[in-house]
């Protein structure tokens, strides 16, 4: 069964009959259809091994689909040439469970790194990194190293780094997975603010409290298929749908 949300806005992401089979024969995604309009906030839920991470890897073009098409902002990722990948990835802000900060750089340098690799001028790097840290509430932690920060602060730095390019799409893979519930909520507030500023947010999560309380769009994946797509759903309904399928 394939379900898609009925939104009138222009889709930022569109997956059309996407299949992904790995070299070892594992079928990670099966005939997935999904449309994400610009400005949407979407939770991707499902058990471990359901196919969430594969979907994220396809969206950041770490992998190509075996069959089907993926469009992001009108670009078909499967046909995108490798030399165009960097410019595509600059449009997508990525946030991970393990933060992926560089330990020998300060908070400011970690954020600035995302601009330095693009060869931005020093004053641009300074101004935009400072702004990004201000957005995540870490103006006072410029010169602090990741080892000197809490998990929540590290995740904020990672979010600032994702925001510094002003991306239209933020993809987050279990961003609260390593955080205590209170800190997880703080991070979620940040994502909501980012979404309110106009960025589309797609977040894979196992945190049922967050999904249930926020009542945003929920897409449940099970066995590589989209089994539920609710405009304002909860985590339990998603699990129930998975159980029914089983």
């Amino acid at each position: 069964m394939v379900l898609t949300a009925d939104f009138s806005q222009r889709p930022l992401i569109s997956l059309q009959h996407v299949w992904k089979r790995y070299a070892n024969g594992t079928e990670a995604l099966r005939d997935v259809e999904l449309t994400v309009p610009e400005g949407d906030f979407l939770f991707l839920v499902g058990a471990s091994g359901a196919g969430k991470s594969t979907l994220i890897r396809l969206l950041v073009r770490e992998e190509k689909p075996t069959k089907g098409k993926i469009f992001v902002d009108g670009q078909e990722l499967g046909r995108m040439k490798r030399r165009h990948l960097p410019s595509y990835r600059r449009k997508v802000g990525l946030v991970f469970q393990d933060f992926k900060l560089l330990p020998r750089l300060t908070a400011f340098e970690n954020v600035a790194f995302a601009l330095r690799v693009l060869g931005e001028a020093g004053r641009v790097v300074q101004a935009r990194s400072k702004d990004a840290l201000e957005v995540v509430g870490l103006s006072n932690k410029h010169d602090t190293y990741p080892r000197e920060m809490s998990g929540g602060e590290q995740q904020r730095v990672a979010i600032a780094r994702a925001l510094v390019h002003s991306p239209r799409l933020i993809v987050a893979d279990e961003p609260t997975g390593n955080l205590d519930p209170a800190t997880g909520w703080e991070i979620m507030q940040l994502f909501l603010q980012i979404n309110q500023r106009g960025s589309t947010v797609l977040m894979a999560t196992h945190n049922r409290d967050i999904v249930d309380v926020l009542r945003r769009r929920v897409v449940a994946i099970d066995g590589g298929q989209v089994v539920r797509d609710d405009r304002a759903g909860g985590y339990h309904e998603a699990l129930a749908a998975s159980a029914l399928r089983a």
Partner: protein
């Protein structure tokens, strides 16, 4: 401006990466230094042997035709003209019996014999300089057919010696090329593996670079520069060692084996410096390029 910032970033990253895994980098530098030293020795030995061979070549490319005592001078002049018009011949000179005796007596090696000589037993000579060593045999055959040549000892042609020298020269050239090729391959392999280690050490940074949209060459550039740095450093060290050892070694060798015309060639030092440093840089660049192509994919 952007390019300049990228270059600065790459240089800075390469320098930091080199020293971050200092043990591996220095071990690779030492190994490549050793290999470039061996390659440099190979070049020096090759150059020196080429010099020695050139001297022998110059000697054996001149054949001396002994003129029979009863040959009229006009016959000699005619043959001299015939030889001069031959495109294989570079020069011909006539040495009369008296000049041949004077030259013999002037050589200190012949002092004892010269004192005992009565009259002039030496023949007049036609000294023929042949352009190519391979043509000496044909000129010798021509001389032997000439009716004015001394029947007992027509020429001083040393056919077997020349053939051996040509073979030796060809083998030495081939051996030099093979040794250089093997040494260069080993260097490339070592640099490639050093870069693999550097890539492993910096895997988190590479991952972050990819995620934030760094271009392929932005990620790869510092590694290629690190390879060039390793190669140039190794080239410099190898060159220093070679230059320090070259002259004393030649002097020592010359005093032990005085009969081998071995010499120090200051003009070759510049050529050697250029070759070793360029080889170091190219090896570093090539080894690291292959390394990053294999291990860094955006």
């Amino acid at each position: 401006m952007k390019l300049w910032r990228h270059l600065l970033f790459a240089l800075n990253s390469a320098w930091q990466s080199f020293w971050r895994s200092a043990a591996v980098s220095l071990a690779a530098t030492a190994t490549v230094t050793l290999i470039l030293t061996m390659a440099g020795i190979n070049l020096l030995v090759g150059h020196t042997l080429a010099g020695v061979l050139d001297q022998y070549r110059a000697r054996v490319s001149v054949i001396s035709i002994s003129v029979a005592d009863d040959t009229p001078l006009t016959t000699v002049t005619d043959f001299e003209d015939q030889l001069r018009s031959d495109p294989r011949v570079v020069g011909v000179s006539y040495l009369s019996k008296d000049e041949a005796l004077a030259r013999f007596q002037a050589d200190p090696v012949n002092a004892d014999i010269a004192r005992q000589i009565e009259g002039n037993p030496l023949a007049a000579k036609l000294e023929v300089r042949v352009g190519k060593l391979a043509d000496v045999a044909a000129i010798d055959a021509l001389a032997r057919q000439w009716r004015g040549a001394d029947r007992n000892d027509p020429t001083d042609y040393q056919g077997e010696f020349i053939a051996r020298m040509l073979r030796l020269s060809a083998w030495l050239n081939l051996a030099g090329v093979v040794i250089l090729f093997v040494l260069l391959l080993i260097s490339i392999f070592i640099v490639m593996n050093t870069i693999r280690t550097a890539v492993y050490h910096r895997r988190h940074e590479i991952e972050v670079m990819k995620l934030v949209g760094a271009t392929e060459w932005f990620v790869r550039g510092p590694f290629v520069l690190e390879g060039i740095l390793t190669g140039v450093l190794a080239g410099g060290l190898a060159l220093g060692g070679l230059l320090l050892a070259y002259r004393p070694f030649v002097d020592r060798f010359h005093s032990d084996l005085f009969f081998v015309p071995l010499g120090y060639d200051p003009a070759f030092v510049g050529e050697l410096a250029r070759d070793v440093l360029v080889a170091g840089a190219l090896l570093g660049a090539l080894g690291s390029y292959i390394g990053v192509r294999r291990f860094v994919r955006v």
